[in-house]
Symmetry: C2
Subunit: 104 residues, 2 copies
């Protein structure tokens, strides 16, 4: 993942509503949750939520699958892993994360 994509993804997660949505989806698990479920669960107006979901999908934080009338949103775990990996490698350079063992 390159610099610009990382910045764009962090910017998306850097919004309280969207961070809530992502956390909600992670809790929901690999099957994800429908836009409606998220709306009810978090109490965000439909049009506002739709706007945020579209942004998250655009940068690859979530995937959206249409099943008849409902749209199922699934968190892209791999994307977040890549993001975390970037931060650890590019932004922690030489600094060890507390619970991570020393390299040999």
């Amino acid at each position: 993942m390159d610099h610009e994509k990382v910045a764009a993804s962090l910017a998306e997660l850097g919004n309280s509503h969207r961070l809530s949505v992502f956390r909600f989806l992670v809790k929901a698990g690999h099957d994800g949750a429908s836009a409606g479920d998220i709306q009810k669960g978090l109490g965000i107006p439909a049009s506002t939520l739709s706007h945020h979901l579209a942004r998250m999908a655009k940068v690859g934080l979530i995937r959206q699958e249409k099943h008849s009338r409902t749209i199922v949103c699934i968190p892209e775990y791999g994307h977040l892993e890549n993001l975390i990996g970037f931060l650890q490698e590019e932004c922690c350079a030489g600094v060890r994360i507390a619970h991570e063992p020393e390299p040999l």
Copy 2:
């Protein structure tokens, strides 16, 4: 670190200039770099840079120490670690990071 602080910090890192600044500071190491050095290194106009540095300091991503005329900026490694920790715990729930070993 709570939800709102996490969102605010991610939002700050979610700007290309600021992400560059943070990476620059990490490369510079624990001694950090002066605002002037960052400006020369990244080619960002002084007033623009000052604006970004102030924002980063506000959420705790960096620390600014004034030494006579120059301001030294130091990355707050711990802050980023907390951020990464939050993402791993709240947003990866049960998902294993590739290079991390399975728990016993």
